[in-house]
Symmetry: C2
Subunit: 148 residues, 2 copies
């Protein structure tokens, strides 16, 4: 063995319910969706790349979330990449669960027509990824939406 | 509408093969595995939380990677959370694909017995999550290992 750098501090057990804090800190995105005249935005931190070519992204969406049914029914969404100046909207959207609120209006975000999906882009976001649902098989089991 | 902050710069199309650069930047982990006397470590950036209770983590592992078969066969792995002082080992492990190299020895990492799985912990890492594979159904389709 070439060298060993053994830390001497003692490790301790950690509650399983809190390990997410180590795994989560990636880019927070805002997911917009629409179906039959209804539209919504959600703040999302549980996502991952699942393929390069084609570029595939997995998103975990809780089934109690309004976006869950909009995306499942429309089979589309937009993943919008916000910048730090949108922090109030990001947090506000993430904490708003009233179905009567239009989050675009509530948080001063501008819906713009997408080119390949019916879900609106959020104009203020730095980047917008138009996505189509390509695998619905894991929605019920894992809340996992696989998007292309 | 309360207020609109419309950015005026023009958006442009972006190659699908490069959008991963926006989604990826989360915590990099090192995954250790073992099966029938063979052991390995890989550097992993494609992972996500998939559940809180129980704490479930999805990991994308390329089928050409040695860890792919070790984890699939043993149905276990350890997700190790490295700190920045391990950067040389993190990059070295990520760039080493020779099956004759023992990455623990090569990069001065210390294997330590885990308590609930046979895969070794990496002693130098800040945290170690002992994982058992709970859903193998998406390995062939998405390279997705769902761990508890």
């Amino acid at each position: 063995m070439s060298s060993v750098h053994m830390r001497t501090y003692k490790k301790k057990s950690f509650p399983l319910s809190k390990i997410r804090r180590f795994i989560e800190p990636g880019p927070i995105v805002m997911v917009s969706s629409a179906h039959k005249g209804e539209r919504n935005i959600m703040t999302l931190g549980w996502h991952m790349m699942l393929g390069l070519e084609p570029a595939t992204i997995g998103c975990f969406i809780w089934d109690e979330n309004r976006s869950f049914s909009l995306i499942r029914r429309s089979k589309q969404c937009v993943i919008n990449l916000p910048t730090i100046d949108l922090i109030d909207a990001i947090i506000g959207v993430g904490n708003t669960h009233k179905s009567t609120v239009d989050k675009f209006e509530q948080f001063g975000l501008t819906p713009v027509d997408a080119s390949k999906v019916d879900a609106p882009l959020i104009a203020e976001c730095y980047a917008n990824f138009e996505c189509k649902l390509v695998d619905t098989s894991q929605i019920n089991r894992h809340g996992l939406f696989v998007n292309l």
